[in-house]
Structure formats: C-alpha cells, structure tokens
C-alpha cells in the first residue's frame, strides 16, 4: 500500500514538473493516433459516401462485415502487420518493422472499420428528404453527398472520436510492430505495460493518469457532440 501511495506522489511530481520523458511518450501516442485516424478519415469519408449512396449487390453483407470488424482484436491486426513487414514478409524490404509508420498502418487497419461503419450509419441517419430536397434545388450528385455529410456532421465527428479512442488505448499493435523502443516507438500503453513489469511504478502511474485524462476528454467531447 505504501508503495502505491509513494508511486502516486512521485507520479504527480513527474506531471507537475513536466517531466520530458512523460510528455514525450504522451505526445508520441497522440501523434500516432491522430495520424492514424486522419488517414482513415481521409478515405473513409468518400468511401462511406459511395457505399451509402450507391446500390450494389452485396451492400448489406459489406456493411455487416464492416460492423463485425468493429471489435477485431488488436493482436490480430498486430500479427497481420507483423507478418506483412517482417524481414521474410512480402513488404519486408521496406524496413518499416518497429517504426512509427508500421504502428500507424496497423492503427489505420484497426480504426477504419469503426470510422467507416459509423460514417455509413451517420449518413443513413439523415432524413431521406434531405437528398430529395437538395436534388429538387438543383444539386448534382456530388453536391448532394457533401450536403448529406454536412447534415450528419455531429455523427461523423462521433465516428472520428470513437476511432481515436480505440487507437489511443490499444496496445497489441503498438507492442508487436512498434516494439516499445525508447524515444522512438514507445507509447503510453506500451510504456505502462512494460515499465510496470520492470518495477518503475511511478512512471506507469503518471502515464496512466495521462491516458485516463485523455479518455475522459474523449468522453466529454462525445457527450458534448451528442447533445447537439
């Protein structure tokens, strides 16, 4: 108990003194997750629009597959990316193993089903009269799509925030293809996990507080969005 108490006190000291290592790790975590979600959003928005607005055979099946992948295990994605980029793997020559790039690729794969799936359901939540009204006002297909996305903006934002929440808190990918290299690929989750094993409980608690704060901010943001 005293150990835990001391850890907490030390952790708060680390935070208050703006310990460079703590903030470097937190900053990297944020950067990697924000990058992953932005990349995912960049193609999920148009792709979601296409899937929503076009009728094609297998559409329902595709959507339910995407929804199934919401809860894909992070270690499964980690394994997949590991196999892809390991020395003997098909993309081994790129030498991306144990780099932030590999972590971003893994996280993009992880969050895309969530972001894409939630964007599709955001679009289908828009009143059918919206596209109809837009067409009657002379909108082209593209203009209708932009308007519909705009009408769904809060739900789309929710999709992005949910994706970010999943990315920032995952550990499987970060560990398997990032490797927790100090000053290079170490993130909040990998650091907490490995520093705890090593006995550096103060650093773990400090990082844990930051991670929980981020989760809190995400939750606050979500409920703010949902109130609109």
């Amino acid at each position: 108990m005293t150990e835990l108490w001391q850890g907490l006190v030390r952790a708060i000291e680390l935070l208050i003194s703006l310990d460079p290592e703590v903030f470097e790790i937190a900053g990297r975590s944020l950067l990697i997750s924000v990058t992953s979600c932005s990349i995912s959003a960049l193609f999920s928005l148009p792709l979601g629009g296409l899937i929503h607005f076009y009728h094609f055979p297998g559409k329902r099946f595709l959507i339910s597959t995407i929804q199934t992948l919401f809860s894909i295990p992070t270690v499964a994605v980690g394994l997949f990316v590991f196999v892809l980029f390991s020395q003997a793997g098909p993309l081994g020559g790129l030498n991306l193993m144990f780099t932030p790039v590999a972590m971003v690729i893994g996280q993009v794969i992880l969050v895309t089903p969530i972001i894409l799936g939630l964007i599709i359901s955001a679009l289908s939540g828009v009143d059918k009269a919206v596209p109809e009204t837009a067409i009657s006002l002379g909108a082209t297909g593209f203009q209708v799509a932009i308007l519909t996305l705009r009408e769904a903006r809060y739900a789309v934002l929710t999709a992005l925030v949910m994706g970010f929440g999943r990315a920032i808190s995952e550990i499987g990918i970060a560990l398997m293809v990032g490797g927790n290299i100090k000053g290079f690929t170490r993130t909040l989750t990998t650091a907490i996990s490995l520093e705890t094993q090593k006995g550096d409980i103060e650093l773990s608690i400090a990082l844990g507080i930051i991670l929980i704060s981020i989760a809190l901010v995400i939750n606050l943001a979500l409920s703010r969005i949902q109130q609109r």
Binding site: A129, E132, T133, S136, L137, G138, A139, R150, R153
Partner: protein, 360 residues
C-alpha cells in the same frame, strides 16, 4: 405555349401502379392545381414532373425536350424548376444559408446570391430570422423558408405540394397571399397539389382532379365545380345530392327525370330513356314551410330526418321519397323552427341541377 407535357405517364411502387395514363399539358405562366383525395397520386405526379423520379412508363417533355430518362438534360431542366415538398425540411444551418443552397449549387456570383436571398426572405416575411438556425423554426416558418428557398433560384416552374396542409387558417391565408403575389408579379408557372378544393379555386386557373392515380377531369374551377364529369368527381368537389334516375320526357333541353317515383326537371342534352344522375349542391336547395311561395320548378314536401350544425350553418336532411341535403344559416333554421320530424318544402331550380350519365 406548352411548357410541360406528359404522355401516358405511369408510375409504380412495389409493382403496384399508383399513376396511370396521365396526359397533361401545363402551359407557360399558368397556375394549375391538382386536387384529389389522399393517396390519389398527386405527390407522385409532382415528383415525376420535377424529375425527382424516373417514371415506369410514358414520357415527359419539358420545354419541348424529352427529359423522361436520366442524363444531363434532366439536371438542366430541373434547375429551371423548384419544388416545395409536402413535408418541407430545412437543412441544419441558418435560414440564410438554407435559402442560399440552390444559388450556390448553380455557382451564381456572390452579390447575386445575396440580393436574391434578401428579396426572397423579404417576400415571405421572414427576413428578421435570417441568422437563426432553420431547425429552430415553427412549422409555418419552416414552410416559408422552404418557399423562399424554392423561389430564390427564380424558377420558371414552381411545384407546391400541399403548401398549407398542417397550418392554421391565419398562417394558411398568409401563405396564400404570398403565393398569389408570386403568381401575379413573377408570372411563374405554378403546379400545386392540394386536397382543399376551395384553395384550388382561389389560386388556380385550371384544375385537374386526380383519383386512384388517374386524372379524371381537367377544367376551369367553375367548370369542375358546376359540371363534374363523374360521380367520384362530383362527390369530391362537394356535390352531396346525387340522385340516380331515368329520363322520361324531354322538351327542348328541359328534361324530366324520374327518381324513386318522383319527377324532377333539369336542363340537359340527354335523351328520353337515358340512365342519368342528377347532381345538386346543398347550397342550391332552399327551404320553406309551405309550397306556394317558391318559384323553382322542383319543389318537394318531406320530413326533416336529421339536423347537423357545422359552424354558422346547419345541414338539413329531408326525406322526400329520396334523400335531399341542404344547408341554411343557423338563424333561419331557428326562425323557421326546424326540428327533426317537421314537415318542410325543399325546392331547387332546374338550372341548378347538373346531369351526368349513369352506368348502372
């Protein structure tokens, strides 16, 4: 000049035809009202005319161009028209931006956009709301925004689907005022759907009566009101006395029709032996307590079978061998001492009767 023409237009939803054989000509600058009961296909027809859906059969010509199927000419034609939907929706943005949509999508220059929006908002009298989020408006205000948004693009054709349904009488007359103004000042071609016969009469120069997906009669309001072509149309436009009979005598165009053992006289071109229906509007029937004061050709004695007050009026049903329904003011009903069972004389002029063919 014909602006919109349809030939044998038909449409179906889930294999069920909801529109059949519609052959319609809308002339440039006219105001045309589609009236008909709920579910008769008015909205469906308007959606086809505004090129929002592709018809199952038939053709649509806009300004001489075949725009039946998809392609560039449809967008071009659609951009010359506007549609205020039956349940208008506004986008989740300011009133100003809502009205701007059509103009921005056409890439109109900024100053023209501003100017058109200002005047459209002015016209429907919601200029003071322009910075409010449109979703926060009331039903009547939403309707105005939808009308302003449709007018901002200066359409050649304006489609209005039940523009005043769900509005109270005051809001209705305000919207009608706006519409009358547009019709008069801007010479816009207007096609409106309504199930309010009197609104059609007030605003339109021509009326098409729709039932079960078909246009049964097209004509001027007075033509449709006084000479409905069929029993269905007659019932819809408020002819409540529909008496089946057969013509038993004819003198020039004054015919004698036998109805349930009684005879009534009317003006008609039908000949002796024709099976007909005599249509009489309730407001054309007058009541008296004794027979001799009426100069009308048709006078019948009967007993009042039912009295129903409707606002300032009273509906009187009289059984004179056949049922007759008339209306009087509340005051005259009291003065004449009307009550159920009382004997009265109902009369109507030969010219007040509209005679149509009967098929069974």
């Amino acid at each position: 000049m014909t602006l919109i023409q349809t030939t044998n237009l038909g449409h179906k939803y889930r294999e069920r035809y909801v529109l059949k054989n519609v052959n319609l000509n809308i002339n440039q600058g006219e105001v045309f009202a589609l009236i008909g009961p709920t579910g008769s296909g008015k909205t469906t027809l308007l959606k086809l005319l505004d090129l929002l859906e592709i018809p199952a059969s038939g053709r649509i010509y806009f300004d001489g161009v075949d725009v039946t199927h998809s392609g560039g000419p449809r967008l071009e034609a659609r951009r010359r028209m506007s549609f205020v939907l039956q349940k208008p929706i506004v986008f989740n943005m300011s009133v100003y931006d809502n009205v701007a949509c059509g103009l921005r999508w056409r890439h109109e220059p900024k100053d023209i956009v501003r100017q058109r929006i200002e005047s459209a908002l002015e016209l429907v009298a919601i200029a003071e709301y322009k910075n409010r989020n449109a979703r926060s408006l009331s039903g009547g205000e939403t309707q105005r925004v939808a009308i302003a948004r449709a007018l901002a693009t200066k359409p050649e054709v304006l489609f209005l689907d039940e523009p005043t349904a769900n509005l109270d009488p005051v809001a209705t007359s305000k919207i009608e005022e706006v519409l009358a103004h547009i019709i008069k000042e801007q010479k816009t071609t207007v096609v409106m759907a309504t199930h309010d016969m009197s609104q059609g009469q007030r605003l339109a120069r021509r009326i098409g009566v729709m039932m079960n997906g078909e246009i049964l009669q097209v004509g001027s309001p007075s033509n449709i009101f006084s000479s409905p072509k069929s029993r269905e149309v007659a019932e819809f436009v408020g002819v409540e006395n529909i008496l089946g009979g057969v013509i038993i005598a004819k003198d020039n165009n004054l015919v004698t029709i036998e109805v349930n053992g009684s005879t009534i006289q009317a003006i008609s071109d039908f000949i002796v032996g024709d099976m007909v229906q005599a249509l009489i509007r309730p407001e054309d029937i007058t009541f008296a307590l004794s027979k001799d004061i009426s100069s009308a050709r048709n006078t019948f004695e009967g007993k009042i079978s039912r009295i129903t007050p409707v606002g300032p009026l009273v509906r009187i049903e009289v059984d004179c061998g056949f049922p007759l329904l008339g209306v009087v003011t509340k005051r005259s009903a009291e003065e004449l001492g009307f009550s159920v069972g009382k004997k009265v004389c109902a009369s109507f002029k030969a010219t007040a009767i509209h005679v149509i063919k009967r098929w069974n």
